[in-house]
Symmetry: C2
Subunit: 324 residues, 2 copies
């Protein structure tokens, strides 16, 4: 007898709802879940759809699909400086593979614990392609959320972590090359910057997560803040792993500036916050790299290009995806 939607939920998803923090009043299984927000907190909400063949490879393992999709969604909570509160997932399956569902479910269980984001509901349906839509909710002290629109002329521009590593791993995977395991985990299981996002919240003026590529996402901040940026290209060469594994300096730079799927944070902060940000970076063992400055002229200009690289080489790195 084939498994029904309810059987699948009972077997692979209901157990994931067992862990609920105090903010969950009613977990999965009813018409709605019910949450009790913390006093003097507001709620951040974001929805993300990830589709097989676009956001993760065709025939992706259940683990990869779970980890990359939830990370992408949770990363938006980090970008607001919020703390995860709950997630609902809508999974559309192309076929019913119990091993795949088991793999998906186990990986999800790990992410739920690691990021402390309880699964409060969702649904399963059958379709022509595998897709996952997550809606994630976060909690932030009233009025303290960070938007894209607060960057001020003279602010520093930063990026967290190691932009470009996930993109290089994906390039190598697509070419069928051996991928360094260290590099691979940035692609397979990106770490949403939840902790650092909350820690830097009082220090930053604007923030976004890097999903489409650093330059593309920085431009969203600039557009929302009605300003521009002078990007110090030499600062982007700090990652020795990327330097060693990329083909040449231009490739290295292209990866750092335009590879998607990193889920790092790009943010602006007043110059007066440099020392505090540096301490936080050291305490968190996570680079917070100063990559430029906010200027009044809209758009991005590049400074300190390495020998042999011209500004024209870096045009077209905006990462926009067009409908064909």
């Amino acid at each position: 007898m084939p498994l029904s939607e309810f059987d699948i939920i009972d077997r692979y998803f209901a157990p994931l709802g067992d862990w609920q923090p105090k903010t969950t009043v009613l977990g999965p299984g009813d018409d709605c879940a019910v949450l009790s927000p913390r006093a003097d907190h507001q709620i951040c909400i974001s929805s993300d759809t990830l589709i097989e063949g676009i956001h993760f490879p065709m025939a992706a393992s259940g683990r990869l699909a779970a980890e990359r999709s939830l990370a992408a969604a949770v990363s938006d909570l980090a970008a607001m400086g919020s703390e995860p509160m709950a997630a609902t997932g809508a999974l559309t399956l192309k076929e019913l593979s119990e091993p795949w569902l088991q793999d998906f479910s186990s990986a999800l269980a790990e992410c739920i614990q690691e990021w402390q984001i309880p699964l409060i509901g969702g649904n399963i349906s059958r379709g022509k392609e595998l897709s996952i839509t997550w809606t994630v909710l976060g909690s932030v002290p009233t009025g303290r959320y960070v938007t894209r629109s607060g960057a001020q002329v003279g602010d520093d521009v930063y990026v967290s972590g190691w932009p470009g590593r996930a993109g290089l791993a994906l390039e190598q995977l697509i070419k069928g090359e051996m991928v360094d395991p260290e590099l691979l985990r940035y692609y397979e299981r990106p770490a949403p910057r939840l902790e650092i996002g909350q820690k830097i919240r009082p220090l930053v003026s604007a923030m976004i997560d890097v999903s489409d590529g650093l330059l593309s996402d920085l431009q969203h901040v600039l557009h929302a803040s009605n300003c521009g940026a002078d990007v110090d290209v030499s600062a982007l060469g700090f990652d020795a792993t990327l330097g060693r594994q990329s083909r040449n300096p231009l490739h290295h730079l292209t990866l750092a500036l335009s590879a998607g799927d990193d889920y790092e944070l790009c943010f602006s902060a007043p110059v007066s916050r440099r020392a505090e940000l540096e301490s936080l970076a050291q305490a968190s063992a996570l680079p917070l790299t100063r990559i430029g400055q906010i200027v009044s002229t809209p758009g991005v200009v590049f400074s300190n290009l390495p020998n042999g690289i011209k500004p024209a080489d870096l045009e077209g790195l905006t990462g926009y995806r067009h409908f064909e």
Copy 2:
């Protein structure tokens, strides 16, 4: 030049986010929307995915897709007795048709106003089939939400409105028959029972919305409440329109008991609440039909079957959809 995801959002969806009530602190356009829940209120959340060819017909108009999909999601808020607060939508498009998007967007604008549910965010992606995932949030006074699990032995069982009409309209549509316009609107634009859901909230013991069929959804309540129901079949013949347009009494009953897509409310309430419920029904010009009673023995038994209809005729009306 093809439209980008951002162009589509700017043209067809950003204007829908213009109306925001006071609970919205930050609307669409940033990494997250931000909501400020009302004091002493909790938040109800539900996600629903609707796929072309399953939940609405292939080649559905933008209007039909918008109205049916959002109604289905919002109906879960009604079933908790909650008031709509916000919605996020994830739209996967098979192709880019501007007339379809315009139609979808206009219909959505009407639903947003009619149901007073602001659009606070979402995303657009491209895939092999049209699908829409809504996540809806509602607000309910602390502790006053209605679950499926509160039905008590001796309680009455009710259903709102006109179960079966949407199903009959769909049957006639599929057969290419003329559909009575009065019947058609129950299918094309089901009315989530938001107002009555909030009004009856203090009177009812358990509630669910009818999406899979009355009998199927009633069974979810019985299962969650660990009880059974005696369904008075004669009470389900009250709808003269359905009586006139269905083929025979068994067809009429089958539609009322098992047709999906009605988005009526099925609920239980203590016998002591009969008079209040009757007044509310009259004041709202919406039938709240008493269709049976909660009993201790699990499962459903049928009473008062019309002449010529046997209990066996009504078996198999549980409405479960299986993965094939």
